[in-house]
């Protein structure tokens, strides 16, 4: 086993260099971390071999579930006749809430989400009963045969009505600093405004799906497309009234999730489990696209307003903001989502004297839920509107107003919830982007273009993003991992995070490879399973890598420390003289220069696998768990003050648009993005998150329109009536950069920064640029009101509004002159 092979003979092409440094910062780029390692499933993605839940081989006798849905928005159920359903072809089992042995409410945080309707229904599409049949098709046909009678109740279908009736899913909450009313009154200028911000359908290409298989001891194994396997485990156990340890939940990968599978995957998993428990057969529950769109929650629509006081430079002196989240019928995650909208009502700006009120409006629609950004984007939109409105009022470029309101370094650096904005480089980042995007010269060109063209108009905007990283619910900021090393030197990695395309598994594998200084392809990633790592948090809040990466690193460090001690004892060298490098372990006196030059005569060398084998033979444990909890964070909801976020992720974007003022149609001509990801763990993945997040945010703010009719029925319930961005909607010229070499000052995993959610909000520059183009119609004197999504229709209305305002003004001027 012993080997004295020289390093440069091991792999002359390897760029992996020996590493003596204890400080992990100096480790960067030496092992698996910092490289654009391809996604762990990339080969399978392109060959069609990646297995999603629906691709799993079906068990013999597997049944398929479907649910009967409410056809009204709010009603007591008078009667349910399921006789025709039971008699339908292929139907094996039909259940209502009466058949649930355990909990009937699956509310994630607060009660209010019945698994199946409990005597009343609160939205169109609510599940009332469930069927297991021999095929997906037969199950779906059968549920149509139910005869359900309702006693209809008045339905609340607008935020306005919910506010008027104090119809809330949770009580309102206020964060405030100082005397905002007085500061507004005392300021040189005051403005008021309001905005309606639309919701967003997740439209993960893989819809909600779960397969439940009964196990021999009355338990259940559930394969589910969920961001939160531990919650699915808990809820399945509670619904079946069995201990948690009898339920195993397994999630290998999701075909997209974006927050839509954080809480709202559980219902389908629970129903499949119930039916599996009753029939003693495996049951798959796959939602059709239209059912998925009608029965699962979306990004919260918001209706926000502000009252601001500012000085002649445009700097805010006082502000009142109210954010009104449309939560749908139940609390779900809405309390935390509206909180995050409140936290992000400042975006990147110092609000001075400020009051932020958050209302959680209850409407008779599906319960809205997490979606990339988690309320943050809806909070930021209000203050970005304020920036544009102030700029138009004062006749300034909105960028100037944005800059003067940015958080400062020594002063003006505390948020309205009392967190100090540390390590703040917003100003530098924006200035850099302003230069690299050639903002000022393009601004002049656009002014000129708009003078020369009466129908086509261009708009330009630069907007920043400052996004708080951590779950605002403190206990969720923890993670566990499990690492095994087998005697051939290969590594098995498991952790509590789930893979939904964001590249989490790849990054965590890179981290483990880095610890052992081995090739990343020797680290095998594995499905998230509740029997491997227990009590995990959802993969959400952009924190997947921060949490699970640290937990996996801790597990790897534990094993590595054992190996180092073992080798040091066995070969009688100091622990410092045991060095992992290039899939090898070097033992003995050495220096960097010796290693670099390949002068290793004094060094004994073994492959990583050989050392592992030796350790095994000498009975050293080669398996460890790892655990991590985020430090420093706290928040007191009573006072509305604290440090809810470990750090902030920042970025900025510049968008240029061209609009047709006769039709409202527009084109996104160019986008420049600069995003701070700290020390990037994987630049290819990080850039992909930024590109994709931007596109998704752009869809939210431009084309994706949810429409409910007056009876509360979702009309935009398929791919024909709901438009997510297609390839031709992507910017013509798209330039995305990472802030180079800027480690996170907080001790995150390899000083990286979260990248999942922040880029979504970069798309606010598209909305602001559209407003800039529209404002040109009125010579930039009026700030257009542009609710989102800013569909061509809304852009046209805004153009018309500005035109008629301009006409009225000129008429008034003429009259005055006469």
């Amino acid at each position: 086993m012993r080997s004295l092979t020289k390093i440069n003979e091991i792999n002359p092409n390897s760029s992996i260099k020996p590493n003596n440094a204890k400080d992990e910062q100096n480790n960067l780029g030496l092992g698996g971390v910092g490289r654009s390692t391809k996604h762990e499933s990339a080969d399978k993605h392109v060959s069609g071999e990646a297995i999603y839940i629906d691709d799993r081989l079906e068990a013999v006798g597997q049944l398929h579930a479907a649910v009967g849905q409410s056809s009204v928005a709010h009603a007591n159920i008078k009667s349910i006749d399921l006789s025709a359903v039971k008699a339908a072809e292929g139907v094996v089992s039909v259940i209502t809430v009466e058949d649930v042995p355990g909990h009937t409410d699956i509310g994630a945080v607060f009660p209010g989400d019945p698994l199946l309707a409990l005597g009343k229904v609160e939205f169109v599409g609510q599940a009332i009963f469930a069927v297991a049949a021999t095929s997906h098709d037969l199950a779906r046909r059968a549920v149509q045969l139910a005869k359900i009678e309702y006693d209809e109740l008045p339905a609340v279908l607008t935020v306005k009505d919910a506010l008027a009736q104090n119809n809330f899913v949770r009580p309102p909450f206020t964060m405030s600093r100082g005397e905002s009313d007085q500061a507004i009154t005392n300021a040189e200028h005051q403005l008021k405004g309001d905005i309606k911000i639309g919701g967003q359908e997740h439209f993960y290409l893989e819809g909600q799906i779960s397969t439940a298989e009964p196990t021999e001891d009355g338990g259940m194994i559930v394969f589910t497309s969920s961001q939160h396997p531990s919650e699915v485990q808990k809820l399945v156990a509670e619904v079946l009234d069995i201990p948690f340890n009898k339920v195993v939940v397994d999630t290998r990968r999701m075909g997209g999730a974006f927050g839509g599978k954080e809480t709202q995957a559980a219902q389908w998993a629970c129903i499949a489990s119930l039916l599996a428990n009753i029939t003693k057969q495996a049951v798959k529950f796959k939602l059709s696209r239209s059912d998925d769109m009608c029965m699962t929650g979306k990004r919260h629509p918001f209706e926000n307003n502000y009252h601001v006081g500012f000085d002649s430079k445009g700097q805010i002196k006082g502000i009142n903001i109210t954010v009104n989240g449309n939560c749908g019928y139940s609390p779900d995650l809405s309390n935390a989502i509206v909180d995050r909208a409140m936290f992000h009502s400042d975006n990147a700006y110092f609000l001075d004297q400020s009051t932020v009120i958050g209302n959680r409006c209850k409407l008779n629609t599906v319960s809205h839920t997490a979606f990339r950004g988690f309320g943050g984007p809806q909070g930021m939109m209000t203050i970005e509107m304020v920036m544009d409105d102030i700029a138009r009022h004062l006749g300034k470029d909105p960028l100037e107003v944005r800059k003067i309101n940015l958080y400062g370094k020594g002063e003006r650096n505390v948020t309205h919830y009392d967190q100090k904005v540390e390590h703040n480089k917003l100003n530098e980042l924006i200035t850099k982007l302003e230069v690299s995007s050639n903002y000022q010269a393009r601004r002049l060109d656009i002014m000129e273009f708009n003078k020369q063209n009466s129908i086509l108009k261009k708009g330009l905007a630069l907007t920043p993003v400052k996004f708080g990283i951590s779950f605002t619910v403190q206990h969720l900021n923890q993670a566990g991992a499990l690492v095994h090393i087998y005697t051939d030197g290969t590594i098995h990695l498991n952790h509590g995070g789930t893979e939904m395309g964001q590249g989490l598994f790849t990054k965590v594998a890179q981290i483990v490879a880095e610890e052992f200084q081995v090739n990343v392809d020797t680290v095998g990633v594995s499905a998230t399973r509740t029997d491997k790592v227990p009590n995990t948090s959802p993969t959400a809040a952009s924190s997947g890598t921060d949490l699970n990466g640290k937990a996996a690193q801790a597990a790897a460090k534990t094993i590595k420390a054992r190996l180092i001690k073992y080798v040091s004892d066995k070969y009688n060298v100091s622990e410092e003289e045991v060095v992992f490098c290039n899939n090898q372990v070097f033992i003995g006196k050495q220096s960097d220069s010796q290693l670099n030059e390949g002068d290793i005569s004094a060094v004994q060398t073994f492959t990583f696998a050989e050392i592992v084998q030796q350790a095994y033979m000498d009975r050293i444990s080669l398996s460890s768990t790892g655990y991590y909890k985020t430090p420093k964070i706290h928040f007191d909801r009573v006072t509305g003050k604290g440090r809810p976020f470990f750090y902030y992720a920042t970025g900025a974007s510049v968008s240029e648009v061209l609009i047709d003022t006769l039709t409202g149609e527009y084109k996104l001509l160019r986008v420049d993005i600069l995003q701070d990801v700290g020390h990037s763990l994987n630049p290819a993945i990080d850039l992909g998150q930024i590109e994709g997040g931007f596109i998704q945010g752009m869809g939210w703010l431009t084309t994706e329109e949810l429409v409910w009719n007056e009876q509360g029925r979702l009309l935009s319930n398929n791919a024909a009536t709901y438009k997510i961005p297609a390839i031709s909607d992507a910017p013509v010229d798209f330039r995305v950069e990472l802030v180079p070499d800027d480690p996170n000052r907080e001790h995150t995993i390899y000083n990286s920064k979260a990248v999942g959610e922040p880029p979504l909000m970069l798309a606010m520059s598209v909305w602001s640029a559209l407003k800039d183009a529209i404002a040109s119609v009125g010579d930039y004197k009026t700030s257009p009101v542009l609710d989102t999504p800013a569909t061509p229709e809304r852009v046209l209305w805004a153009v018309e509004a500005i035109k008629s305002q301009a006409e009225n003004m000129s008429q008034k001027v003429e009259q005055a002159n006469q």
Binding site: H39, G48, Y52, L205, R253
Partner: protein, 156 residues
């Protein structure tokens, strides 16, 4: 006597209801699961396969009407996942969640069959019906252009 259909070069009996969409024949009957269900209405492109070389949405076409036709799925596009597009997809780190990507690749392969040197507008136009919620469009464009450039060089 069942009608037959050729799937990835192999003759298969159409031993299901002829109204069954091709997608379900592929996935449920033949267990070729690389082709995905996305919307069921031919609007998202996740189910794209080739029918006699032409990109077709398998979720809306009944298997019965395809008797005698030759179908290629992602599993049959190349021997070892090494079609130039698959290689370009890997090189450009295109997939995120991966779910739509077999449809994207099949559609792109059909585009290049018809037009080996598409320009940016032609790529946009041809790929319009294949949606990717992760927003990998930038990289899809790049990967297709890269293969098209290679093809152009081979031709010249």
């Amino acid at each position: 006597m069942n009608k037959t259909i050729i799937i990835n070069g192999e003759k298969q009996n159409i031993d299901v209801d002829e109204d069954m969409p091709l997608l379900w024949f592929l996935r449920d009957r033949l267990e070729k699961t690389g082709t995905k269900y996305g919307c069921g209405t031919g609007l998202c492109g996740a189910c794209t396969v080739h029918v006699d070389g032409v990109a077709t949405r398998s979720c809306v076409i009944p298997v019965g009407v395809l008797a005698g036709k030759s179908i290629t799925t992602i599993e049959g596009l190349s021997e070892n996942g090494d079609h130039p597009l698959q290689k370009a997809w890997l090189e450009n780190n295109v997939p995120q969640c991966g779910y739509c990507q077999s449809g994207q690749i099949m559609n792109a392969a059909s585009l290049l069959n018809e037009n080996p040197t598409p320009n940016a507008e032609e790529i946009d136009s041809a790929m319009q019906g294949n949606i990717c919620r992760c927003g990998t469009y930038q990289r899809i464009k790049k990967a297709i252009s890269q293969v098209a450039d290679d093809l152009a060089r081979e031709v010249s």
